[in-house]
Symmetry: D2
Subunit: 316 residues, 4 copies
């Protein structure tokens, strides 16, 4: 593996399967650590001892270890795809309604909205993702359906679906997101009825996919915007921008720490998943339900840290 | 140049000089735009029509265009070097005293310090750089001297010096920084006398260097921690971390926008300079005194945007 | 009238009618100044040239000038009565759910709720009044009805009613209040369904009364808790507490300025009304629709300022 | 004493000495509770079991109980006198530099200064008192001396003095106040050198007086502006305004709670003293060093609560 004082080992020399096995061994002590998301019953039931890791390369190979075929709830990871789908359709309209700056910290979520008159700081905080979903709904007539169709297509598996129990549970415990949505509506930044926008948001966050499927579905960002079928979803600059947003805003209030340790564009979800992009090379997805205080998978962060340290594939 | 819909042009095909000339032509309309920093007289006197751009590659070549040999005031760019010098000496001690997260926005500078009991959010906001300077002073006995020595050595020019008029002017108009320093001292996070720490901070920010010198002095971050003389300043992971911090926190309150447009680790200063790192390849420095509302050089951002778009050398 | 340098003129010497006429003359230049509330159409239609002032004394006399018999929308003034009705029934339960401190300024409304985990700072900011209404609804089964019944009884006029057009308009433009209510519900501080609590809040704010009726209905606070029929609504300490809250929190973000100028417990509403209490002596209500930047009636504040300066009846 | 459900007992019927004795008995269990201010050694040495209470009436009588002749450190109580002295000299100039609104809570002190560009919210928060002291220094050439002279004269005791040990200790631990002062200086709201303004502030806060002396020195506010020698310091409206500020901003972040419980204009200090005004009738000073979480004397608040409940002398 890489020598901290020396140059990174060439990845050409690595057997990927062996690498993933080594990572799984290394992070085994962390699996089960942290706290499984329990704000809705459907998520709280997931066993904390799960761990899966999948690597999909731009030349079409897929590697995996552990529970990498088991589906989990995407949660905030789905915000990457709704964002990409909106940018593909009407990037300009989005720019006026959502910023691109890191949010500082959790504490600032509402003050920021108030201070900046209803314009969320970036598309990955909940307020921003609600606006993205609202605009995607306006553009497609079915925001959650558009995200689902895209993911089914990229993962090449039409059994991918929305977990209805999770979606219902999100809606039932959705006061905080409804507060954000009503607040933005007061400033004219939600154009569909608040309950419609929120419903589509809750639903695309409740899509269940495996690490393997999620890595495959995220390859378009490693391919600079090109989908699995070879068609282009985003221009090169558009893919660069999504990656940049993932780097600066993708790990909740710990984006700086994540960039500092892992150094890849990534997006985490409270379901315990983290998807990461190695531009030009690969996409990874890791899953383990125990979360740290910021909402990022404990074992997941450890795994990605080891991955970039071993391969030298950090963008820095 | 690069086709937005296609792959980036190979940089191997580019004549660097021609590339820099093209960029200088492209951004000429932006030179003179924005507002020259005027909070101290010494900076306000600089002519707004200056523009320089230098590129230093890890294999030792240096390219430049425009006023790339003219010295300007580093200002916040110097925070990169004081940080690296502290990390090289006592990284652990620094971690407890300064965070690594983006600060959200200017508005939050003091509330954040208050909310987090005197721990600055990252080493590039003024409060964080004051703590870094304070620790560097403890570790070396002469913080400003340590930064100056390092820069002279890397730039291979012992005429690099602190502009005494700028430093005196900073001290005279330093109430805001003194407020930050006293506030942190109240929480025990400044260990030297406040006026000593502030003085060394004002002085290393007042170092004057040219684009050529600054690009050379920043190459150690492109070389994953290795200095001009081949010795190692930082471990590979240390250099990665400085780069990550530059990416997430280097452009004041516009770090997200900068990552979004340019996609390189970078640090700007209100003297109009911006230094950027292409890990493994090169360091760039651009200078033009007109600043946008966030304090970043207008023509400088335009130049770096064109550079990464043309070369595809963004990390994303 | 009072000599600023000397003692206040004894009110025994004043003919109240002459005093009110003098005040009306004095403030005539201010009537029409400011901006009529226009966030809902029903309020925007009110003519800005209205001015009424009524004084009700604890010994049963009523004086008035101008449009003091014309009904206007109570808006936030109704928060005084819902608060008193809850304190009369279950003061202890209220104390755990709403604070008694001034809110600082408008800017802090949401940050405060977030920082203090869903506990509104006082019962007169919208968030606090929503909690009061929610609790009144739990205690009575009909919060808006309870407020209406109380006001009809105290004003001795059973034609007092809820303006249905205003209430409907409030609900239609109620996103900000729904945001606050959902946010508090997320912290468990709204116990009825959010839309039910909000509906009763919108309705009691939409009660229409005249200055004469409002002054009469507020006399219980001047009588230290005793209602028009001689029965006690609140203990002496309870009435003192409502008066104290009106003094420190009754004039939106200008409570300090109001105390500074007028020096009486008071509550204003964006309908242009202000009710004030002279403990032990009288209650006043003034109405003029033009509002200052804080939402307080311009001519209303001027009138109350002159009233306390002339009579020396400020509590200070 | 007063019956909560009935009218207050007439104070004419009370023997004041008996009343004060009764209060001292009632609050004895609270004496020693709370925490003695320990941010500077000089204050930390005071015995927590002290309790004194003095009442001075406008007709010239003085009553006391317990340690009412023992001197303690005025601390923030001195802000009342520096404010009155500035208002007497140049009220208009003060209005542009300090607000009159409650500050919300401690948390907001710096954000408020930042948000409102260096204008403190009111004259009783430290930032505001620093501006008042700065202006008093400009107007008199010796701010601390002006406060001391005034207090000696009103208390009729020329042995009242500044405790040099406390003042030195304040200066040594003054980083937070220096931070505030430099921050305001950055916005042009401190006109003397920061260290001069801060030094005079530290010194007038370090004046030591007894409850008896403090009650006498505060009678000018009960006399609507008239000093002990019959001369007028402030116009009637000026005294009313100081009283109003004490009511809305006098008890740190618990001004609302204090108004709610006690209902008198008052100012507390971390030395354990609280001075209160009964307009037209009397001034009180209570002292007991144990502080609650807001910095107000635990036994002191209890004593004033009982005083107003028993006498019915609350302004509400």
């Amino acid at each position: 593996m890489a020598d901290e004082e020396g140059a990174a080992v060439s990845v050409d020399d690595l057997a990927y399967d062996a690498l993933l096995e080594w990572i799984a061994d290394e992070v085994a002590p962390y699996v089960g650590e942290g706290r499984v998301a329990d704000y809705i019953p459907a998520l709280a039931q997931v066993s904390p001892d799960r761990f899966g890791l999948a690597l999909a390369t731009v030349d079409g190979r897929l590697y995996g270890v552990g529970d990498y075929r088991e589906r989990f709830s995407l949660q905030s990871i789905s915000k990457v795809y709704s964002l990409a789908l909106v940018m593909a359709r009407d990037d300009g309209r989005l720019r006026g309604r959502v910023g691109v700056e890191p949010s500082g910290n959790a504490f600032n979520s509402l003050i920021q909205l108030e201070y900046e008159r209803g314009i969320p700081r970036n598309p990955f905080i909940n307020a921003g993702a609600l606006v993205v979903t609202d605009l995607l709904h306006t553009l497609t007539g079915d925001a959650a359906g558009a995200v689902l169709d895209f993911l089914r297509s990229e993962a090449d598996d039409h059994t991918v679906t929305i977990d209805g129990a999770v979606a219902a549970s999100e809606a039932e415990h959705g006061d905080l997101n409804l507060a954000l949505a009503h607040f933005m509506a007061a400033y004219g930044n939600i154009e569909n009825p608040v309950d419609v926008a929120a419903d589509h948001y809750f639903r695309h966050c409740s899509i269940a996919m495996s690490c393997a499927e999620t890595a495959l579905a995220t390859l378009f960002l490693a391919r600079h915007g090109v989908r699995a079928d070879g068609s282009r979803l985003l221009p090169v600059l558009g893919a660069k921008r999504v990656n940049a947003l993932m780097m600066t805003c993708g790990a909740y209030d710990a984006a700086g720490e994540f960039a500092f340790r892992v150094g890849l564009p990534a997006k985490s979800g409270v379901g315990g998943g983290i998807v990461a992009v190695v531009p030009g090379r690969a996409a990874l997805c890791v899953w383990s339900p125990g979360l740290d205080q910021h909402g990022n998978s404990v074992a997941g962060v450890e795994a990605l840290d080891r991955f970039t340290t071993a391969t030298g594939w950090s963008v820095f």
